[in-house]
């Protein structure tokens, strides 16, 4: 493999990991930490993307303003949903699932009514750079940087700030935290809002490279859940390592054909065989198979084995 191909390969792997991290980060808080199966997480992503669309196309704000607005709007929406619905359902996981599914359908409906069911695009201006024979878009590097920044901020927030300690205490043992004087309902609300805001940020960052359409969340929610579940109980580092493992597998299988299977009949056009690997389709399949295998071998998720045994 020549050097430029190797560099491009590394960039592709980084890109796959970036997308998984962006999708899963908000859910890592809401599902990983708070154990809320939030089926409306995909729509938080969608609302983030539509905030960018609305602020650039209709309010004529610069793209970056829309991208900064998106997490705030979605965090606000998340807090409103937590106060109105989820707060009443803590400890009732099945009811939460049903309720958030309803919220998901409602949001898709509202967005469709407001913006129409059409696919819309957000053009962006960044250029590209050359790697040997290849050209690569700069925006992908921006995405990776932002994803790393978000991951690091969330880690620092929960590890080193007073808010983070209270939030972790609240989730670990709500009664004890409450007895120690922490306003636990407020902590739940803020953590949920933060998780929603991170999904909104992901939607905003990905909006320019994917088409913006009311049902776009559905395409991403499964991957977000898979990443968090495979990540296991140590939420942030687990999510990061599962995104890395899954992203690596996806990028490699998307890029390299593994082997070919000869097929009978219809052989006039050149490929008389099916090539396994080497396309986005097999990349996705490989990601799913790998996730299943991992969960079979490590039922607790990747980080399930890091915890010191009690």
């Amino acid at each position: 493999m020549s050097l430029d191909t190797a560099v491009i390969m590394v960039l592709e792997i980084l890109n796959s990991i970036t997308i998984l991290v962006l999708l899963a980060l908000g859910l890592a808080l809401i599902f990983g930490m708070m154990r809320i199966v939030n089926l409306a997480q995909g729509e938080f992503f969608t609302v983030g993307a539509f905030t960018v669309l609305a602020s650039t196309r209709y309010a004529h704000l610069p793209l970056w303003v829309g991208m900064l607005l998106a997490p705030l709007v979605v965090a606000g929406l998340g807090i409103a949903i937590e106060r109105a619905i989820i707060r009443r359902l803590y400890g009732r996981p099945l009811d939460v699932m049903l309720a958030t599914w309803g919220v998901s359908l409602l949001l898709i409906g509202l967005i469709t009514v407001t913006f129409g069911a059409v696919t819309q695009g957000i053009p962006f201006a960044l250029g590209n750079f050359s790697v040997g024979r290849y050209q690569y878009p700069e925006y992908r590097i921006v995405m990776t940087t932002v994803a790393a920044g978000l991951m690091l901020s969330v880690y620092l927030l929960f590890r080193y700030t007073a808010f983070g300690r209270r939030a972790r205490a609240t989730i670990a043992n709500p009664d004890m935290a409450s007895a120690a004087g922490i306003n636990t309902p407020r902590m739940f609300m803020l953590t949920f809002g933060l998780g929603a805001g991170l999904a909104g940020a992901a939607g905003a960052i990905m909006a320019p490279i994917v088409g913006v359409v009311p049902t776009m969340g559905v395409l991403y929610i499964a991957r977000a859940f898979i990443t968090v579940v495979v990540g296991g109980p140590i939420v942030l580092l687990g999510t990061l390592s599962s995104a890395s493992a899954l992203g690596l597998i996806e990028a490699l299988i998307s890029h390299f054909p593994l082997f070919t299977i000869a097929t009978a009949g219809h052989c006039t056009p050149p490929p008389c065989e099916i090539s396994i690997g080497g396309s986005a389709f097999f990349g996705q399949i490989a990601l799913l198979i790998f996730a299943i295998l991992l969960l079979r071998l490590l039922p607790q998720g990747i980080s399930g084995f890091w915890r010191p045994r009690p």
Binding site: T5, I8, E12, N15, I19, T112, A117, V118, T119, Q120, G121, P123, F124, L126, G127, N128, R133, Y134, Q135, Y136, P137, Y139, R140, P208, I209, V210, G211, V213, T215, L219, A251, S254, H255, H266, T268, P269, P270, P271, S275, G278, S279, A280, F281, G283, Q284
Partner: protein, 427 residues
């Protein structure tokens, strides 16, 4: 004494009664008598929502406009048309379901619609089972040969011939192909391979350059939105031209990501699908300017029928910049082809209408003169090769009058051999 439990005989009796009720409509179904009523129900199955609605919405606009226009002119045979539309939601399972509903419950005189070839093939068996007159009004991979089906969309010969000749002359001989991963993309690829390697014809074209393929054809599922790896493989293969059979809302991202990688001015794109869902409106002009496609209709065509259609559609949609596009115009044409068949036949019944359409109906549509080929039930058009311009529109480069759907016509003769309900494809 407690009530006796139902015995086997009771059970059988109840089951038989229930079964009888459920098959009742099918058993007792007779051709509805449209002659008696003041209105005639007609059906349309298009994707108003979901990933395929980039084609569905323009097709619905064309459908509604055509039916309203027919009704405004006094309807057909003195009756108003009652348009019954179901949103098939870009979900294949909805097509057979709603097709049955249109046939059995709504008792429509005709069904128009279906967008992806996967959706069409999912309910064509229903059409054949109930002998229902059906119009498929969209560009597709060719080869459908079915007595009950009329096609007003264009096929590979009509698009790929002109595209191959243009690309060979203008860009070079090395092509890379990306295609949507379902029957449309796979069959289109087989035809494209023939047209490209023959220099633009089904048989080798004398004196023409021959095309060749570089890299492997890539089939991409409809829900893929990230094309990073594909774009890098295209750069690796260094083609002179890229052929795109990409389909649907998610695949629009390909063109944006391709431009973002700085390839737009390096590798020219030709396509049989780009533009009929008005992708050039969704994308920014600088992302796709120069992309070349071949359709029988562009809004830019100048003729009295198209001027009237454009003015009327802009009013209907309340948008002075509304772009009708190929999908809208073909739906419009499909309904008018059917209406002309009904008028000529003096009946809404399938057999006389089919016979009338098989008499070779032609008329001046917004696309110019169009003709229904009697034997293949396909349409002969004037095709236009056009490039996306900097104003989110098209510049017509070259026009080719009376291009027949040769690949289907050479195999399909529904007059000589009417009992065909099949789709031909290259071996």
């Amino acid at each position: 004494m407690a009530r006796q439990r139902p015995n086997r005989r009771d059970f059988l009796r109840t089951a038989a009664a229930a079964g009888g009720v459920s098959v009742f409509p099918a058993v007792l179904r007779h051709r509805p008598s449209w002659a008696a009523a003041n209105t005639v129900p007609v059906g349309s199955l298009l994707d108003k929502t979901g990933g395929i609605n980039i084609y569905g919405l323009p097709a619905i606009a064309g459908t509604e406009y055509a039916v309203a226009e027919i009704n405004a002119k006094g309807g057909l045979l003195g009756k108003q048309l009652e348009l019954i539309q179901y949103d098939t939601q870009s979900d294949i399972a909805n097509f057979p379901k709603f097709a049955k509903k249109l046939i059995l419950e709504d008792q429509v005189a005709v069904i128009h619609g279906g967008i992806t070839s996967a959706s069409r093939e999912s309910f064509r068996p229903v059409i054949d089972e109930y002998k229902q007159l059906y119009f498929y009004n969209i560009i597709y991979e060719g080869g459908v040969c079915d007595k009950y089906v009329f096609v007003t969309g264009e096929t590979p010969s009509q698009q790929m011939g002109p595209l191959a000749k243009y690309a060979l002359k203008k860009y070079g001989t090395k092509a890379y192909t990306v295609a949507a991963d379902y029957n449309f993309g796979h069959i289109s690829w087989k035809w494209w391979d023939i047209f490209w390697r023959n220099g633009g014809g089904l048989e080798p074209v004398a004196g023409a350059k021959r095309g060749q393929h570089v890299g492997k054809v890539e089939f991409i599922p409809l829900d893929v939105t990230d094309f990073n790896a594909t774009i890098n493989r295209i750069q690796e293969a260094k083609p002179d031209v890229l052929m795109s059979f990409l389909v649907g809302g998610a695949h629009i991202n390909f063109y944006r990501q391709f431009a973002a990688a700085g390839l737009k001015n390096k590798i020219p794109i030709i396509s049989t699908t780009f533009g009929f869902g008005n992708e050039h409106i969704v994308l920014d002009a600088k992302e796709v300017e120069g992309l070349v496609a071949c359709y029988p209709y562009f809004d830019e065509l100048d003729n009295p029928q198209n001027r009237a259609l454009k003015a009327g559609m802009k009013k209907k949609m309340g948008n002075p910049n509304y772009y009708i596009g190929d999908a809208g115009a073909e739906s419009y044409n499909g309904w008018h082809f059917w209406a002309k068949g009904v008028q000529k036949a003096g009946s809404f019944e399938r057999e006389p209408v089919t016979k009338a359409l098989e008499s070779g109906i032609e008329w001046d549509s917004p696309m110019g003169r169009v003709k229904m080929d009697p034997a293949s039930h396909h349409t002969i058009f004037t095709m236009h090769l056009a490039a996306v311009n900097s104003k989110r529109g098209w510049n017509v480069l070259e026009s080719f009058p009376n291009i027949p759907p040769t690949e289907t016509m050479q195999l399909c003769d529904l007059i000589k051999n009417p009992n065909q309900h099949t789709q031909y494809q290259p071996k």
